[in-house]
Amino acid sequence: MHLSSDDLIFWQHGWFKLNETIVTTWALILLMVVGARLITRRLTTRIKISRWQAALEIIVAGIKTQIEEVSLAQPEKYIGFIGTLFLFIAVANLFTIFPVYEPPTGSLSTTTALALSVFVAVPYCGIRERGLTAYLKSFAEPTFIMLPFNIISELTHTLALAMRLFGNMMSGTMILGILLIITPLIFPMIMSALGLLIGMVQAYIFGVLATVYIAAAIGTHSPTKQQSTT
């Protein structure tokens, strides 16, 4: 039994190892980029739009409202980054319905890369919105004593993001493997259905947490709108 898809190595040259994680990640990226390109080639604003365009519009508008509700005032500036994170993790997790596929998010290297991009994006957005001195001053916010704790919390946010996604996806694969040994008939099906749900929830949580961290860095308090949806 192996812990992650890093162990299956297709091709090796010196220090460079082409393992399953890299291959799957690039295949997913190609699929998503080519698919999005094909769909957005013929965008129209007429009454009758194609089914694919309607689907993409629903996804983009949904992500936009979600970012807006998590207290980021201008979602257009951040939807590129956060939407990419969410869509990549969601697609990577949803493809587990295919038999031999192993999610690249079940490998610690992929999740660390995603968390590091959040780790870089948070101070970037903070400095761009507030200026360098104001952003650095926010680390010593209540008192100066809080400075080391704020820096540590910045680091543990990144660690927790990576470990949470990795642990959830790896445990899904692991439980499926164990259940296939114990009760191979019905239960693996139920657990893989649960795994799909967990994958979507984790993608959503990764996106929401990235939004929350960026919103905390840029420090805007948008007026709380009264929710009228039920």
Binding site: E69, A160, M163, G167, N168, M170, I205, Q227, T229
Partner: protein, 93 residues
Amino acid sequence: MDNITIIAAASIISAGITIGLGVIGPGIGQGRAVASALTALAQQPDATSTITRTLFVGLAMIESLAIYCFVVSMILLFANPFWNHAIAQAAVK
């Protein structure tokens, strides 16, 4: 018992203890969080979307504690550095 047996026994037992004791706290925490969210939902059904989103994020935060325990026990079982070291030592001899 030689060293390898002791390392194997200690790894297996502590992996079980890690996951067993480690999920107690997050279990209680998640139960309390869901109970509070249900109370809030019953009192204010209008704020359903906000409460649900906050609940999910909070549950993910609490759950990550249990996930840490799970990862540690998986490392102890399948990728144990001490076990690998002992095996390497035994191979040298």
